[in-house]
């Protein structure tokens, strides 16, 4: 199958999955918004966990199942599509939940229908498509576009599921096809940049899928720098049941079964790792630790850039432009940077440098950083921060420490969580690692993923479990330690009136 054909099939799959995911996301938004705050937290957690479960772990866990489906490519494709649906629905919920309400709300649409187009000439003159554009489609199209983009760029699971039965390849994946083309580029006879001859089509598709969400982001940022909340609507009991059913199924298929099977496979091996293979455990832990360090660095850079640019409304366009490379996916970004590094390697001595990887991963993380900044409301209200900073400069020790505590509560804690999440993604990132990392910087996740192509075995499951658990354990440790340290405010809590005012 040529790259163009694989690109076409991938696009078709992306659109189909997005089409299915959009009503699901709409349903979930309504249910989440109408839930009590406590239930809402659980619903959001249930939604987020499958999204945060690494794709290659899911693919690896199901690799034996797909071996059994080798003669039924349609089932193989459908199962892959289901996993993708589970992965992208949370993104749709995020976009729909955060987007400003469309100018033409339900009331306006209802009035139009009641009065008839003759009476509301101005609305009628817009035409049906434009009415849609100002109405529900204003948010639905970008949400669907972003979900389709994510499906379009998925390769981790596809690569592990890919088989040809009787000349028929499933699942088609342009990323895998491009990677194979790169490997087959006539043993270096073809100049690397000539690959763009093949790459323009996926890039064009990505840009088309991306445009609606960029337009939405631009209009939203243009308004006030932050997204206004959407009024909640009541969900019916049937909708709540359907949403709960979906969340349970997604949690089961997207996280619990994959991780459960990994645990089932891997836990018996843990005792051996702890016993006779302790040096191997040490090596894996050391490699995981080494992989966390650059992840923290790039996460901090991405968070810093996003935070810095989001604070200044006039830099909105620059921020939007900077997020585009990351939104176009790791492969496109990695290829561009590979050529840049190759071109600069000799004159600037960048052949062994990690600069390309850091730049690439920071750009790749930037859209996620922006999304998290808005989602976690990391940018606090200016008045609150101003007052907290004033307290930090107070002459009295207790007041000053209370000021620090307030700053931590207003922004610091959320920034820490944001960096933690970005770090998780950077730690598990594969494409840029493969293309840009010097050998000594290759991450532990990259190493795991390469081994996963050799099929499933108990030893690899154990190591994968360790690799996935390391950042989780570090986070748990940090959270526990931060809670155990007596906070300055517990000794010198500011007067209630001060904190309330702040």
């Amino acid at each position: 199958m040529s790259l163009e054909v694989e690109c076409g099939w991938t696009l078709l799959r992306a659109l189909a999955v997005a089409l299915l995911a959009t009503p699901l996301a709409m349903l979930l938004v309504v249910v989440i918004k109408s839930a009590t705050p406590r239930t809402r937290g659980w619903l959001i957690l249930a939604l987020a966990v499958p999204f945060l479960t690494p794709g290659f772990v899911v693919g690896y866990s199901y690799s034996n199942l797909t071996l059994d489906l080798v003669r039924t490519p349609i089932l193989n494709e459908l199962f892959y599509d289901l996993l993708l649906l589970i992965e992208v629905v949370p993104v749709g919920v995020l976009v729909l939940g955060m987007a400003p309400p469309p100018p033409l709300g339900p009331t306006a649409r209802w009035c139009t229908r009641l009065t008839g187009p003759q009476r509301l000439r101005q609305v009628a003159s817009c035409g049906r498509l434009r009415q849609l554009g100002y109405g529900p489609a204003r948010n639905l199209v970008p949400a669907a576009g972003l979900m389709a983009l994510l499906v379009f760029h998925e390769f981790e699971i596809a690569s592990l599921f890919r088989v040809i039965a009787g000349g028929r390849l499933t699942p088609a994946s342009w990323s895998n096809a491009l990677f194979e083309l790169i490997a087959l580029q006539q043993l270096g006879q073809t100049a690397p940049w000539e690959l763009w001859r093949f790459g323009w089509l996926p890039l064009g598709c990505s840009l088309i899928l991306l445009t609606p969400v960029l337009l939405l982001a631009w209009t939203a940022i243009g308004r006030d720098g932050k997204m206004p909340p959407v009024r909640g609507s009541q969900s019916s009991p049937a909708a709540s049941r359907a949403a709960s059913l979906w969340l349970i199924a997604a949690l089961l298929l997207g996280t619990i079964i994959p991780l459960g099977s990994l645990v089932q496979d891997g836990v018996p091996g843990l005792s051996s790792l702890w016993g006779e293979n302790r040096h191997q455990l040490g090596r894996t832990l050391a490699h995981a630790g080494r992989s966390l360090l650059p992840a923290i660095l790039v996460a901090s850079i991405a968070a810093g850039v996003a935070l810095g640019l989001l604070k200044h409304k006039r830099l909105g366009l620059l921020l939007l432009l900077l997020t585009i490379p990351g939104l176009l996916g790791g492969l496109a970004l990695g290829l561009v940077l590979t050529f840049c590094v190759l071109a600069l390697a000799e004159p600037l001595g960048l052949g062994h440098s990690v600069a390309g990887l850091v730049l690439g991963q920071a750009l790749w993380l930037l859209p996620r950083a922006v999304l998290l900044l808005v989602l976690l409301a990391v940018v606090p209200r200016r008045e609150s921060m101003h007052l907290a900073r004033l307290m930090q400069q107070a002459p009295g020790g207790p007041q000053r420490t209370a000021g620090w505590r307030l700053v931590w509560q207003l922004a610091g804690r959320r920034v820490a969580w944001m960096i933690g999440l970005l770090c998780w993604w950077a730690y598990l990132e594969l494409t840029l690692n493969e293309l840009l990392a010097p050998p000594q910087w290759l991450s532990v996740a990259h190493r795991m993923y390469q081994q996963m192509h050799f099929g499933r075995n108990a030893a690899l499951s154990t190591t994968t479990l360790v690799v996935v658990l390391v950042p989780v354990a570090v986070t748990a440790l940090l959270v526990t330690v931060s809670r155990m340290i007596p906070g300055p405010a517990s000794r010198a809590r500011p007067p209630a009136s001060q904190t309330e005012n702040a």
Partner: protein
């Protein structure tokens, strides 16, 4: 001063203009006791051999010499071609010092690019001429064989049964790795070589029509047959032995070409020209080509067959049985032009 003596001796042994050592180390312990050799930074190795088998060898090298090694492996899906392309791309500013390939063919692809430095050290000298470059730019060691893997619960592991199953109307229970990369590509090139691809092209089209299963790599072929999803397939001996050790009902038969020869694929090692860590690179090459490393690779789960002189009694029984088959192996050195043509055809076939 005393601690520097081994370095000076090693440096003297390594720095002859033609790359021959002044005093070859004794086989079996080429670098034992030697220290770091004044190099800058760790040694970078591009390795197409499976991580599970290559890592312990390279770790032993580090333990014995104190030389840190950073490894970049290839994925199963783009076996060795990915690394070869990377080496060619990095020609102007090489990152890699030593290339450990899991076969010979893709290493020889680097020769026209003038990427390989000659070194005829102690390791090179113990390997038979058939498996090395006379100028020392690459050298083979520890070979695998191309084999049929058969699920013995599904069919008997006999030549007749395999022939019947592989020529039947329905091939949906037979698996091979995609022939674009790795040892399946070499296998295809050998079939191409017989009659400029005429038979291969017809066979390829016919088997696909009959439902042949193609998967990313040989290990997946092994998994399919071991789990009973498929009855038979092409793989390499190292993958076969993994399935056997896991207790699966599998047996193997050597793949034989129309002329009756077997397909033997040695690992190969080469030093990248211009490496700033030449002394360390040479140490590693001698280490990999040593009797001890060949013995380690024969004794590990992959059961690779030593090419150099070795004490037969120290080899596992499985490997001893494979040694005569290695001697019947076809000469891969003549494949150059056929390989280029076959690869071009495959590229057009899979990426049209």
């Amino acid at each position: 001063m005393i601690s520097l003596m081994p370095l000076l001796v090693l440096a003297a042994g390594c720095n002859n203009s033609d790359g021959t050592p002044g005093s070859p180390a004794s086989p079996g312990s080429p670098v034992a006791g030697s220290a770091v050799t004044g190099s800058s930074g760790p040694l970078v190795v591009y390795c197409a051999h499976d991580q599970a088998f290559s890592d312990p060898i390279l770790e032993r090298f580090t333990r014995q010499t104190g030389i840190e090694v950073h490894v970049r492996h290839d994925t199963e899906a783009t076996k060795s071609l990915g690394l070869v392309n990377r080496l060619i791309r990095e020609k102007s500013a090489p990152v890699c010092d030593v290339f450990w390939n899991n076969q010979v063919l893709t290493t020889t692809d680097l020769l026209p690019h003038d990427l390989l430095a000659g070194y005829r050290g102690s390791g090179w000298q113990r390997i038979p001429d058939a498996y090395k470059d006379p100028e020392g730019r690459w050298c083979g060691f520890a070979a695998r064989l191309r084999v049929w893997i058969v699920n013995t619960r599904a069919m008997p592991a006999t030549v007749e049964a395999v022939q019947a199953a592989s020529s039947g109307k329905d091939l949906s229970r037979m698996a091979i790795a995609r022939p674009l990369f790795g040892t399946t590509l070499t296998h295809y090139c050998l079939l191409w070589h017989a009659d400029a691809g005429r038979t291969l092209k017809a066979w390829h089209a016919e088997t696909r029509r009959r439902g042949l299963i193609e998967v990313p790599g040989n290990s997946t072929v092994k998994n399919l047959v071991a789990r009973g999803t498929c009855d038979l397939g092409w793989t390499d001996t190292d993958d076969f032995f993994v399935a056997l050790d896991d207790g699966h009902p599998v047996a193997m038969l050597p793949v034989r070409l129309p002329g009756g020869q077997t397909v033997c694929m040695p690992n190969s090692v080469a030093i990248i020209r211009g490496t700033p860590r030449l002394a360390d690179a040479r140490l590693l090459v001698d280490f990999l080509l040593s009797e001890q490393t060949e013995l380690d690779l024969a004794r590990c789960a992959s059961r690779q067959v030593p090419l150099g002189a070795i004490d037969e009694a120290s080899l596992p029984a499985d490997v001893r049985r494979l040694r005569p088959l290695i001697e019947q192996g076809i000469d891969l050195a003549e494949l150059g032009a056929s390989r280029t043509a076959c690869l071009a055809w495959l590229r057009s076939e899979y990426k049209r």
